[in-house]
Symmetry: C2
Subunit: 185 residues, 2 copies
């Protein structure tokens, strides 16, 4: 078989639900998912963000989301794992979040589902990677799924359509400036 | 003078208005600025986004922003520069946007001002870099300013507190998938 390539993807423009990954050690992974939600909701799309770990702070996004049409945020976790005393509780919470995610993804009620910080859950081994990959491969064709968190697994990058690494070039922490409300959380 | 370092910035946590840069060839620069706006507005902060180039499409963010408290988006440009027939018109537009930006930054009416895609304006030489750097150095101390766009100038990175490079790892364009409403714009 011979394939004539002109330039990458210069052929027909297809449409499909994308698997999008925001990873890297820099800021902007969850933030860009929030921006995507704001934009998509403005286009009349239905967006759900499931937060796998957050839940401690009253974050700005939890107060803004209800003002937008069709944008729900569900904080599934009770706080950051590294503050937890019981890893089994964290694991159970993450698995519960993943069950909810699967149900929501299959429900047909959303155009975009954000699995916020799921990469950490996969990194810690709290979720079986093969099951997540297998499930995402068979996701509804037009649904967009966004996965955030550092150290995205290569298997996740492999099945993704759009992967961005947010790379930290400079951080105010280095100058002794603390996390600031409205900016960092 | 002897300075004892424990770890980077482990001393007192200061607060200050940050100069934040989103650059790189990947997606998520404007999107993360939108997410930051959503989060900050949820914390009761006043946010303005000045778009230096966009203005052609009815973007999702233009419809979502009015629903949030204290979030204004002003598209200053009429479209993408590379579609323009008259570079002088583009230059005038960008300079007009920069005049508006300076006025808004000094007005005391905002907590966060996003200069969306200003890096392109600096890259094209449409704005004098030294003037922009000089102005930003003297910005109101508690105001956060976000600058987006590829190829941030080293002088901008130099004065910035927080710089993230959005690096493209994988893009659906490579698979022949076109830009999709609600996701790309």
């Amino acid at each position: 078989m011979q394939v004539t390539m002109t330039r990458a993807g210069a052929g027909a423009r297809k449409k499909k639900g994308l698997i999008i990954v925001h990873t890297g050690n820099g800021k902007g992974k969850t933030t860009a998912a929030l921006g995507l939600a704001l934009r998509a909701s403005g286009c009349g799309m239905k967006v759900l963000m499931l937060q796998f770990f957050k839940g401690k702070w009253k974050c700005g996004e939890l107060r803004s989301a209800p003002k937008l049409d069709n944008f729900e945020i569900c904080p599934m976790g009770k706080g950051f794992t590294w503050e937890s005393k019981d890893v089994e509780v964290d694991k159970a919470m993450v698995r519960n979040a993943w069950r909810a995610a699967q149900e929501k993804i299959l429900s047909g009620n959303y155009d975009v589902v954000v699995l916020d910080e799921i990469n950490y859950a996969l990194g810690y081994g709290f979720l079986p990677l093969e099951d997540v990959v297998e499930f995402l491969r068979k996701k509804p064709a037009m649904l967009h799924v966004v996965l955030t968190g550092r150290n995205a697994k290569p298997e996740i990058v492999e099945i993704a359509d759009l992967v961005t690494e947010m790379r930290q070039v400079k951080h105010p922490f280095e100058q002794g400036i603390g996390a600031q409300r409205g900016i960092e959380f």
